[in-house]
């Protein structure tokens, strides 16, 4: 098969996916973007952005949502990276078992998983009961309907995605590269940070982007575990769209969510280490 033929085949195989993305992603995205700049008279205006960005409640909710995402994401990296590294070093059978355990939560509805946290974090839930029975707490503490509950719920939701993304990236790092580094005098930690991490950085960027985006845009988990006292961008957007029918404000919030994620993604790429491999 010559190169031109391969290229044509490659393009043909891409077309269905690209058409799907065009109609079900790009077009709706453009629609949202255009709507966010539309004024009452149908003309282009920034008034919607001004209304939202100068609203103190929006700024508070945005800061809270960002804070939650910036806590969830690094924890997912800290837990996910060593887990993914270990899994790539295991024999196939054991790796398969661990992969199944990682994937298993993803096969459960996020709603069901989130509701399970009510039982665990509730006033008389497993955590409070354990801590009071061993004497660490004198009486149950408020765990539900807090930012902490949202963080825990989001971490459980998105950690498997971080692990899977990193496993996929690390599997592309050949064992010989690591062996070469060790044979040239690098310690295990040095090898991990100076060889493995740079070579799997693209996977890290992808994992961080997915987890951060998911945390910024999550609705069910903040709605159930945070409740009405802990509004996030998605619950605020729902209120604007479905209660106040203020679609303009809702589209502005959606655009801000997208921009935040794009800034993070492109910002991370600036930190990508140079590699010789």
């Amino acid at each position: 098969m010559n190169r031109l033929h391969l290229k044509k085949t490659f393009v043909l195989l891409l077309i269905p996916g690209l058409i799907f993305l065009l109609f079900f992603f790009l077009v709706p995205l453009l629609f949202v973007l255009v709507e966010s700049f539309k004024g009452a008279d149908g003309g282009i205006t920034l008034i919607r952005y001004k209304e939202v960005l100068t609203n103190p409640q929006f700024r508070l909710v945005f800061a809270r949502t960002l804070k939650i995402a910036l806590i969830v994401t690094p924890i997912a990296v800290l837990v996910g990276y060593p887990s993914a590294y270990l899994m790539t070093k295991l024999p196939a059978a054991k790796k398969s078992i661990l992969m199944s355990l990682v994937i298993l939560p993803l096969m459960t509805s996020p709603v069901a998983r989130t509701y399970a946290w009510i039982v665990i974090l509730g006033k008389y839930g497993i955590v409070n009961q354990t801590l009071t029975s061993i004497g660490i707490l004198k009486e149950p503490v408020r765990l539900m309907y807090t930012e902490g509950a949202i963080i825990v719920g989001l971490l459980q939701l998105f950690l498997p995605i971080m692990i899977l993304t990193l496993v996929s990236a690390m599997e592309n790092v050949q064992d010989e590269v690591e062996e070469a580094a060790l044979s040239l005098g690098s310690g295990k930690a040095g090898c991990f940070f100076r060889v493995i991490v740079p070579l799997s950085f693209d996977g890290l960027i992808m994992g961080v982007t997915l987890v951060f985006t998911g945390s910024i845009t999550a609705y069910v988990t903040p709605a159930i575990l945070g409740g009405a006292k802990v509004l996030t961008l998605s619950t605020l957007m729902r209120q604007e769209a479905l209660v106040l029918m203020n679609w303009e404000a809702a589209t502005v919030i959606a655009v801000i969510m997208i921009l935040t994620t794009l800034i993070l993604y492109n910002g991370l790429r600036l930190f990508k280490p140079r590699t010789l491999v």
């Binding site: 409640q57 009510i118 006033k123 106040l244």
Partner: protein, 360 residues
């Protein structure tokens, strides 16, 4: 191993397909003897309604109607705001034939033109209803098919008896209290009742808002659905709260020692309303459904199952059931019904005010 796996997959696919084939075959061989007596047989009627207590609604309302008329009820469930928004978005291509809304949302639906006036001559059960249920919005845009109230409940084993809306400010309720969110049916009603309790005037809403601000730190959370309140109660996060009377059956079902009260300032009453969707092409069937909803059998069944309180004046309930519903002259005479137009007008401002208090 591989062959076994392939065989298992094939068997699974065959099983799934066969269940569908047999289900279809069962429908196709259903008896057609009564077809002539069912002029609407085979038609679908889309009803926009809440999903709360859906199993009982299916038993008492939907299945009997489907069987009687040989039709299929397509249910669109959700809370008021989600269903209202959907109907407005589809205004030029309406799908809903019958819509159920809480009072203020039915008012908004009327203003938005997504529901239309009914013809009383086409409803044989209308005359049996209490007077203010027949046309609660005016212009015959809606009928109150059930009456509810916003009550107060408390855990009898955890807190002292509650007798007033003022009691929500008691220090013993700190951290174990919830109230309905401002976007819910009864959210605004709490403001009015706190205004009445603390200022003696429903319309002194600045006082009510001040009390909300004082209560906010004490709240576990504000609930947006009755199912959320049920979870809060069953998880013992909440020992007292205003509650919608239609949820009382489920609250009792938690098995926890609870009591409901008629506070000295009174209770908030409201009708859940049913309307004909504007643009419906199945108006006759819609009228039959509404008449069915107002029928003696349905109203009695819903009451006995503690789902909805009846609006028919000929329903006589046993005392042990009546005490758990919005029923009886003594209770209904203490209900305050608010002006839906007024509540719809302040909605945007009040949501912003609420968000300010709850975001800080």
């Amino acid at each position: 191993m591989r062959k076994t796996q392939i065989l298992l997959v094939i068997l699974f696919v065959l099983f799934s397909v066969s269940t569908q084939v047999f289900a279809t075959a069962e429908k196709e061989t259903a008896p057609t003897a009564a077809a002539d007596a069912m002029p609407f047989k085979g038609q679908e009627l889309t009803v926009s309604m809440w999903g709360y207590n859906m199993d009982l609604l299916e038993k008492n309302i939907i299945k009997p109607f489907e069987k009687k008329y040989g039709v299929k009820i397509v249910v669109e469930t959700g809370n008021n705001s989600a269903r209202f928004t959907k109907m407005v978005a589809r205004k030029d291509n309406p799908l809903v034939d019958v819509a159920l809304f809480a009072g203020s949302w039915a008012y908004k639906a009327k203003e938005e033109g997504i529901i239309k006036p009914y013809n009383p001559a086409k409803l044989t059960n209308l005359s049996a209803l209490m007077e203010n249920a027949k046309d609660p919005l005016g212009g015959r845009y809606a009928i109150g098919y059930t009456i509810q109230h916003l009550g107060l409940f408390y855990r009898t084993d955890k807190v002292a008896k509650i007798t007033s809306w003022k009691d929500l400010s008691r220090s013993e309720l700190k951290g174990v209290l919830s109230i309905p969110g401002i976007t819910t049916t009864y959210g605004p009603a709490v403001i009015y009742m706190l205004s009445k309790a603390w200022a003696g005037d429903f319309n002194a809403t600045d006082v009510g808002w001040q009390k909300i601000e004082e209560l906010e730190p004490s709240l576990v959370t504000a609930y947006n659905r009755s199912s959320e309140l049920n979870t809060l109660i069953s998880q013992e996060e909440v020992y007292a709260a205003p509650y919608s009377s239609f949820a009382w059956g489920t609250i009792l079902g938690s098995g926890l020692p609870v009591a409901n009260v008629i506070p000295k300032e009174g209770l908030v009453g409201s009708f859940s309303m049913v309307s004909i969707g504007a643009g419906t092409t199945k108006e006759d069937l819609a009228y039959l459904y509404i008449d069915h909803l107002l029928s003696y059998d349905v109203q009695m069944a819903e009451a006995m199952d503690l789902v909805d309180s009846p609006v028919r004046t000929d329903i006589k309930l046993p005392p042990e059931v009546a005490v758990n519903l919005t029923y009886g002259d003594e209770l209904i005479s203490q209900l305050h019904f608010f002006d839906h137009k007024k509540m719809a007008e302040v909605q945007k401002e009040w949501i912003a005010r609420w968000n300010k208090i709850f975001s800080e």
